[in-house]
């Protein structure tokens, strides 16, 4: 690894927080790469520093030490070519669905007119055709998260960061969104870094699963998932799937609050 096709290259990353009770080591010795068009999932229990890592990648929080590069350029602050999807949809209730998708366009002054059709296209891709003039509070949680996904992609980011995007949804909605995310990824081959605490979700979606253990957050193993795509929901019953899940679970003790 470490060749030029890498979108993200993280090396020797360390993050410390100063608290009144002293220094807390949140992340230590984090190293990984994400290649162009690759779907990488980071799986770990709550509080292992996943979200901190994501914020560093988004340029929202500075690293204490180490290197984080996007297309070989160090990330020192927020960038215009990163898309983010959070655990909650984080939509603006005073904007219509279409205007929410166009938020990055407005912020980065990319031209509303030229991006309007693109936004409508993205909404169609996520199955929200005809909902463009509705308001977020008129939609279900799953639909809101689809809007957030469209917004994350509208400005053609080099990298899509997803922070437990389906964690707050019910199991059925979550499964259907997993299927859809896979379909969208197969069509568009975005580079995605997907954070989750569900092992099954990580294995279902990713080309590669990075295992993160807590206190301090460390990436302890990279596990490639070579199950052919498109993967159906019943891929869970394939022996290879079970094998990978077991291998991942062996890294975490039961008390860490992991989902299967």
């Amino acid at each position: 690894m470490g060749h030029s096709a890498d979108v993200i290259a993280v090396k020797g990353l360390r993050k410390e927080y100063q608290t009144p009770r002293g220094t807390v080591l949140a992340l230590d010795e984090i190293e990984f790469n994400v290649a162009e068009g690759e779907f990488v999932a980071i799986v770990g229990p709550s509080g292992c520093g996943k979200s901190t890592l994501l914020k560093i990648l988004a340029g929202l929080v500075p690293a204490t030490r180490g290197e984080v590069k996007l297309h070989s350029v160090s990330i020192t602050g927020p960038r215009r070519d990163i898309g983010m999807v959070f655990q909650s949809p984080v939509l603006f209730p005073w904007r219509t669905v279409l205007d929410n998708v166009l938020l990055p366009v407005d912020v980065q002054k990319l031209g509303r007119e030229s991006n309007r059709s693109r936004a409508l296209e993205l909404l169609a891709v996520v199955g929200l055709q005809g909902f463009e003039h509705r308001y977020p509070w008129e939609l279900s949680g799953g639909m809101q998260q689809r809007v957030a996904l469209s917004r994350g992609l509208i400005h053609n980011p080099a990298m899509l960061l997803m922070d437990e995007p389906f964690g707050a949804l019910d199991a059925m909605t979550r499964e259907s969104l997993n299927l859809e995310l896979q379909r969208i990824w197969l069509e568009r081959r975005e580079t995605i870094l997907f954070i989750t605490h569900s092992i099954a979700e990580a294995v279902f979606l990713a080309d590669r699963v990075l295992i993160m253990t807590p206190r301090p957050g460390r990436i302890t193993e990279h596990i490639p998932v070579s199950i052919p795509r498109p993967r159906a929901l019943d891929v869970i019953s394939v022996p290879e799937f079970g094998g990978i899940v077991r291998r991942i679970r062996s890294h975490f003790s039961a008390k860490n609050g992991m989902e299967a």
Binding site: K55, L60, P78, R79, F92, W94, V107
Partner: protein, 265 residues
């Protein structure tokens, strides 16, 4: 139990209570300079309206209230925005604000009349002074209420602080600002009337005082009724603006906030 809502019953109750009032005053022979019966108040209202005297003073008090409201609200919004934007501005301004806030603004009215005279200016200033705080506080709280995830989202898109203010903080603050405006309007009317009480050449407050001196209590009641209608109308305008501006705020926080603060007055 089923919730009962009959507009007819409402009117019946209103008419009945007026009738009880009328009957009680007449039967108990309460002198009109203590409590006039509704019929006399109605007559006074009719006389003052037909002669045009109420309307003349109505416009003056309305103008004082609206100008004071506009002035106080504008300053409150600007100062509130500065306070919310910068912790150091807050640090330096805070002692002044605490000092100013702890003085009952009504007590400043005599001073204001000395400084600005008996004309409309002193009433506008007094209305502005008293309506300043509700909006100031709500502007600061509102601008700081923006959801952290939304701020992170804007930052991750490399939005400027001005963009974050315009596209996120200001809309997030609107429910609070609208609630502050509703309270400010009520306070502004209070400020204008107090200013007129202290010293004025015109206005409904001045008229109330002159009716009081001449023991025309029915006339006083008629003026109170007009003030009540004015307050209701001003509030109704703000409520309809709020409904339009805050169509996206299903909780209608503004309504609850405004109600609680107004009730405390």
């Amino acid at each position: 139990m089923r919730e009962s809502r009959s507009p007819a019953l409402r009117i019946v109750l209103l008419v009945a209570s007026l009738a009880v009032w009328e009957a009680a005053v007449r039967l108990l022979r309460i002198p009109a300079f203590i409590l006039p019966p509704p019929s006399q108040i109605g007559a006074a209202l009719y006389r003052g309206t037909v002669s045009g005297i109420y309307l003349e003073h109505f416009w003056i008090t309305l103008a004082e209230t609206l100008l004071g409201f506009a002035l106080g609200s504008m300053i409150a919004f600007v100062v509130g925005t500065a306070l919310a934007a910068s912790r150091s501005i807050e640090y330096y301004l805070y002692p002044f604000i605490v000092m100013f806030q702890s003085v009952p603004k009504v007590a400043l009215a005599p001073l204001v009349v000395i400084w600005f005279g008996l004309g409309i200016t002193s009433k506008v200033v007094s209305a502005a002074l008293i309506s300043f705080f509700p909006l100031l506080v709500n502007t600061v709280v509102g601008l700081r209420s923006a959801d952290e995830d939304r701020v992170d989202l804007m930052r991750s898109l490399s939005a400027s602080e001005l963009q974050i203010f315009r596209m996120l903080r200001l809309p997030s603050a609107l429910p609070f600002i609208m609630a502050g405006l509703e309270v400010a309007m009520v306070f502004s009317l209070v400020g204008a009337i107090v200013g007129e009480f202290v010293g004025a050449e015109a206005g409904l407050g001045m008229l109330i005082q002159s009716r009081n001196f001449s023991m025309d209590v029915a006339g006083e009641f008629a003026l109170l009724f007009i003030l009540g209608v004015m307050g209701l109308a001003l509030n109704a305008i703000l409520v309809s603006i709020r409904r339009r501006v805050l169509f996206w705020d299903p909780s209608q926080k503004a309504a609850a906030n405004a109600a609680s603060i107004k009730g405390a007055l």
